[in-house]
C-alpha cells in the first residue's frame, strides 16, 4: 500500500500537545511547525523534558496531538483510527526507542521478525530478511538468545534491526546512543550513516555531537517550542 507520493515526508502545522495531570494541564508541545523532506536526515536536540520524545511519538502515530495538523507520508494522522495507525507504524515507520523495548518473551530473531509477520510477508522472505538484518547489525550468532541475555548495546542493535525489518520510508530514533558507551555508540552512528547514504528519511532525537554532525539539519526544542533551526 504505497502512500501518496510527495516530496514532504513530515509536515506539521501549529502542533500542540498537552497532558492532563489532575486539574492541571501541562503543555508539552506548543505550536510546532516544521517540515522534513524525502531523504533528509534531521536531528532534534534540546534539553531533557523539552518534548523530543513526545514529538517523535506523535510523528510515528504512537501518540496523538491535542490540536494542530500533522501529515506523515501524505496521511493526516489526526483523523485515523487505531487499526490504521497500527498498520501505518508496522509498514511505513521504523521506531528505535531510547530504552530498546524488546519483547522479552521472544528471541532476537523473533523480535526482528514479528513486524514482518504482521505485514503478512511470506515465510521464506522473512527468514532471509532476518538473517540479512542480523548480519548487518553483527548479531547473527545471537539469533536464538533472549533479550535479557544481551548487553545494552546489543539490545539497541536488535532494536535497529527490528525497526528496519519492513524497509520503512521513515526512520525515527529516540536518543539511540544515549545509554551506550562510545564504542557501541559508534556502531549505531555507522548504521545511521548507511541509512542516510541509502536515501532514507531519518529523524533522530539526540544530544550526541557526532550524530548532529551527520545531520543535514538540526531542530532545537526548548520548553515545547522550536528554538532554532540550523543549516
Amino acid at each position: 500500500m504505497p502512500l501518496k507520493t510527495s516530496d514532504l515526508v513530515v509536515a506539521t502545522d501549529s502542533l500542540n500537545k498537552a497532558y492532563q495531570l489532575g486539574d492541571v494541564e501541562v503543555e508539552v508541545l506548543k505550536g510546532i511547525t516544521f517540515k522534513v523532506a524525502r531523504g533528509e536526515f534531521v536531528a532534534i536536540c534540546g534539553p531533557s523534558g523539552s518534548g523530543k520524545t513526545t514529538l517523535l511519538n506523535i510523528i510515528s502515530g504512537i501518540d496523538r496531538t491535542t490540536s494542530g495538523k500533522i501529515i506523515v507520508l501524505g496521511e493526516d494522522l489526526t483523523v485515523q483510527d487505531e487499526n490504521f495507525l497500527a498498520d501505518f507504524r508496522c509498514n511505513h515507520v521504523g521506531f528505535v526507542f531510547q530504552s530498546y523495548n524488546l519483547v522479552s518473551t521472544l528471541t532476537v530473531a523473533e523480535n526482528v521478525a514479528f513486524p514482518m509477520e504482521w505485514s503478512r510477508k511470506p515465510e521464506e522472505e522473512v527468514e532471509t530478511r532476518v538473517a540479512e538484518l542480523l548480519e548487518t547489525v553483527g548479531l547473527q550468532h545471537r539469533a536464538n538468545h533472549f533479550p535479557a541475555q544481551l548487553s545494552g548495546g546489543e539490545q539497541q542493535r536488535v532494536a535497529f534491526a527490528r525497526a528496519l525489518a519492513n524497509d520503512p520510508e521513515l526512520i525515527l530514533a529516540d536518543e539511540p546512543t544515549g545509554n551506550l558507551d562510545t564504542k557501541n555508540g559508534q556502531k549505531i552512528t555507522q548504521m545511521l550513516r548507511t541509512l542516510k547514504a541509502n536515501g532514507k528519511t531519518v529523524i533522530v532525537a539526540t544530544h550526541d555531537p557526532e550524530l548532529m554532525q551527520l545531520a543535514d539539519r538540526t531542530v532545537c526544542l526548548e520548553d515545547g517550542r522550536i528554538a532554532s533551526l540550523n543549516e
Binding site: N83, N91, F114, E117, W118, A131, N144, F146
Partner: protein, 626 residues
C-alpha cells in the same frame, strides 16, 4: 502518612483488585456456608426428621450434598488461597519499591499484613452474610416451606474461622517471599528462559508468534499458572460431578416417583378416602394427611358391582382394587450362621412402628416400583414389600439397641396375628415411604373386611381420555353418589415439581463456585496484563492491533482453561461413575444435556476472562507504557 492510612489508601487506589478479591472471597465463603446450612435442612434434616421425601431419595440427596460439600470446601480453600496469593503476588514489586525507598522491612510487612487482614475480614464477613441470605432465599423461594426452621447459627463462626485462617496462611506466604527479595530484584524485570534449541533461524508464522508469546508468558508466571490450573481443575471436577450426577439423579428419582404413582392412573373412592389418599401421596412434597382417619369405616367399602362394571369398560387397562389402612407393625428377626465360628447370629430385633398397609392383588397393580428384591408373588400370600423408609427405620443395624445385623430381605413383619416375609424394598412416595404392600386377600382375612376401600384404574393412553373419564364418572355415580374419581396427575406433578426444585437448589452450589472461579480467572488475566504490559505496549508501538493483544491473552486463557477442563472433567466422570446410585437412568438426551451445561460453563468462564484483556487493549499505548 499515618501507619493505618497507607494500607487503606492503597486498597482504595487499587479498587478493582481489592473488590475482585473481596467478592471472590465472599462467594467462596458464602457458597460453603450455604451448602452446610442447606444440606442440614434438606438432606440430613429429612433423614432424621423424616417429614418429607422418602428415605431412599433423601439418602441420594445426602450422598450428593455430602460429596459436593467436600468438593465445595476444597474449591473454596483453593480459591481462597489463590486469590490472596494473586493479590499479594501483584504486590511483590510495590514491596520492593517501598523497600528501595528506605522503608524498614518490618513496616512494609505491617502495611501489607494490614491490607491482607482488611480484605480477608471484609470477604469473610460479607460471605457469611451472603450465605445466610442465600439459604433464606432458597428456602422461601421454592416449595421448602416444610423445611423452614431457624438456621444453624453455629455454622457461621465455624466457616468464618476456617476461611479466615486459610486466607491468612496462604496470603502470608507470598508476602514472606516478597520480603526476602532484594529491592534490586523486585525492580528488575529481567527473566531468563534458557536458549531455544538449535541454531537454525526459524522465525514463526503469525499464529505461532501469538502462541509463543502466550505460552512463554504462562511459563514465566509458573507459580500463578499452576495454581490457577489446579483451582480450575477442582472446579471442573465439582461441576462435572454435580451437573452429571445431578442431572442423572434428578431424572432417575423423577422416574422412580413417576413409576410408583403411575401415569394415566385415576383413583376411585369415597370422597373422604380419595382426599386422604391424595394427601398421603402429597406428603412427599410437604402435605399432611388426617391422622385420625378411620380407614375401616364401612362407608368406604367399594361395592363389588362397581369393580365388575369398571372391568367391563373399554379403554381401562387395569383395575387395581386396594385395601389401605394404618397399622402397628413389628419386626420379625431371623438367624444366620457365622461361616467361621459356626455360631448362630441374630439378624434384626423386634422393633415396632406404625405403617401404612396396602393390600393389593399382585397381578393387578397399576404401578411399577423401583425395587430391591422383587414384588409380591400372586400364589404366595405371606409376602410383603416394604417402603424404603420402613426399611431404614425398622430394618437397619442399630448397635445401640444391640442389633448388629439387620437385612429386611431375610426378615419379616408381623401385623396383628399374621406374619409376612419381606421379599422386596421399594421406593414409593406414599406416606413418605412408610408403607408395606401385602396381599389384599390375606389382609382382608386378618381384618375381617371383605371389600377394598380404593380402586386405582389405569387408562389406555390411546383412548379418548375425557370421554373415558366421563363414562367412568357416570358409572361411579350410578353405583354410589358418595364416590368420586380423583385424577392423580396433579399430585404426581406436585411431587415432581418438588423434586425438581430440590435439585435446582442443589445446583445453586456449583453455580456459586463457578462464579468465584470465573472471578479468579479474571484475576489471573489481570495479573497477566499487569506483568506483560510493557511487552504489549511494545507490540502495539511496533504495529500490533489491539486485537492481537486480546488474542494473546485469550490464548493464555484457553491454554489454562483447557488443561483444567481435561483434568477436571476426566476426574469428575470417574467420580460420578463411582458414586452414582444403583439403576441410574441415562439416555442420550441426558448426556447431551450434561455436555451442554458443561460447555456453557466453559464458554461463560472464557468470555468473562476476556473482559480485562479487552479493557486493557483499548488503552492508548503511552498510558500502558507509563
Amino acid at each position: 502518612m499515618s501507619k493505618a492510612a497507607f494500607p487503606v489508601n492503597d486498597l482504595v487506589r487499587r479498587r478493582l483488585q481489592t473488590s475482585l478479591t473481596v467478592v471472590t472471597l465472599t462467594l467462596s465463603v458464602a457458597s460453603t456456608l450455604f451448602l452446610l446450612l442447606f444440606s442440614r435442612r434438606i438432606g440430613l434434616g429429612i433423614t432424621s426428621a423424616g417429614n418429607a421425601l422418602t428415605y431412599g431419595l433423601s439418602a441420594v440427596f445426602s450422598q450428593f450434598l455430602l460429596f459436593i460439600g467436600v468438593l465445595i470446601f476444597a474449591v473454596g480453600a483453593v480459591i481462597t488461597s489463590f486469590i490472596v496469593f494473586l493479590i499479594m503476588k501483584q504486590r511483590t514489586r510495590d514491596f520492593g519499591l517501598i523497600k528501595a525507598a528506605g522503608c524498614p522491612n518490618g513496616l512494609v510487612f505491617g502495611y501489607f499484613m494490614t491490607e491482607l487482614l482488611t480484605v480477608t475480614f471484609l470477604g469473610c464477613v460479607s460471605g457469611v452474610a451472603l450465605g445466610f441470605a442465600a439459604d433464606f432465599a432458597a428456602t422461601s423461594m421454592f416449595q421448602f416451606q416444610a423445611y423452614q426452621a431457624t438456621p444453624d447459627l453455629w455454622l457461621a463462626p465455624l466457616v468464618f474461622a476456617a476461611f479466615f485462617v486459610l486466607a491468612l496462611i496462604f496470603g502470608t506466604k507470598p508476602m514472606l517471599d516478597a520480603a526476602k527479595v532484594s529491592p534490586i530484584k523486585a525492580l528488575s524485570p529481567v527473566q531468563y528462559f534458557g536458549l531455544t534449541t538449535g541454531n537454525k533461524l526459524k522465525p514463526l508464522s503469525r499464529a505461532g508468534l501469538t502462541l509463543k508469546i502466550a505460552s512463554r508468558s504462562l511459563f514465566r508466571r509458573q507459580s500463578a499458572s499452576v495454581r490457577i490450573v489446579i483451582l480450575l481443575s477442582t472446579v471442573f471436577v465439582l461441576l462435572t460431578v454435580s451437573i452429571s450426577g445431578g442431572v442423572i439423579a434428578n431424572n432417575t428419582s423423577r422416574s422412580w416417583v413417576e413409576n410408583a404413582i403411575g401415569s394415566n392412573v385415576v383413583a376411585i373412592a369415597h370422597e373422604s378416602m380419595g382426599v386422604q389418599y391424595t394427601q398421603l401421596l402429597a406428603k412427599f412434597s410437604g402435605a399432611t394427611e388426617n391422622g385420625d382417619f378411620n380407614y375401616l369405616n364401612a362407608e368406604l367399602a367399594v361395592p363389588d358391582i362397581l369393580l365388575d362394571e369398571l372391568e367391563a369398560i373399554q379403554g381401562i387397562e387395569t383395575v387395581d382394587a386396594r385395601l389401605i389402612l394404618k397399622a402397628h407393625i413389628r419386626e420379625v428377626s431371623n438367624f444366620t450362621i457365622d461361616p467361621e465360628t459356626l455360631a448362630t447370629l441374630p439378624v434384626g430385633g423386634s422393633r415396632e412402628g406404625d405403617s401404612l398397609i396396602v393390600g393389593v392383588d399382585p397381578q393387578k397393580v397399576t404401578a411399577t416400583w423401583s425395587i430391591k428384591g422383587r414384588f409380591l408373588n400372586a400364589e404366595e400370600t405371606g409376602e410383603a414389600v416394604i417402603g424404603d423408609s420402613i426399611s431404614q427405620t425398622m430394618f437397619s443395624p442399630d448397635p445401640q439397641a444391640g442389633i448388629h445385623f439387620s437385612d429386611p430381605l431375610s426378615q419379616g413383619i408381623r401385623l396383628q396375628n399374621g406374619s409376612f416375609s419381606i421379599v422386596g424394598v421399594c421406593i414409593d412416595p406414599i406416606n413418605n415411604g412408610k408403607v408395606a404392600y401385602v396381599s389384599i386377600e390375606k389382609l382382608q382375612n386378618l381384618t375381617g373386611i371383605s371389600n377394598a376401600n380404593i380402586v386405582l384404574v389405569k387408562l389406555d393412553p390411546a383412548a379418548d381420555r375425557s370421554a373415558l373419564l366421563a363414562q367412568i364418572k357416570n358409572e361411579v355415580n350410578g353405583v354410589n353418589s358418595a364416590f368420586s374419581v380423583f385424577e392423580l396427575e396433579e399430585v404426581l406433578q406436585e411431587n415432581l415439581d418438588f423434586l425438581g426444585s430440590v435439585w435446582l437448589t442443589v445446583m445453586f452450589l456449583p453455580l456459586f463456585t463457578l462464579m468465584s472461579a470465573a472471578l479468579c480467572l479474571i484475576g489471573y488475566t489481570m495479573l497477566a496484563v499487569e506483568e506483560q504490559r510493557q511487552e504489549f505496549a511494545v507490540l502495539r508501538a511496533m504495529g500490533a492491533k489491539p486485537k492481537t493483544v486480546v488474542t494473546i491473552l485469550a490464548v493464555q486463557g484457553l491454554i489454562v482453561l483447557f488443561s483444567s477442563v481435561a483434568v477436571g472433567i476426566s476426574l469428575g466422570v470417574i467420580i460420578t461413575l463411582m458414586i452414582l446410585m444403583p439403576q441410574p437412568l441415562v439416555t442420550s438426551f441426558i448426556i447431551i444435556e450434561i455436555a451442554g451445561w458443561l460447555l456453557a460453563a466453559l464458554v461463560g468462564m472464557f468470555l468473562m476472562s476476556l473482559w480485562p484483556a479487552v479493557r486493557f487493549a483499548k488503552k492508548p499505548i503511552l498510558k500502558i507504557l507509563s
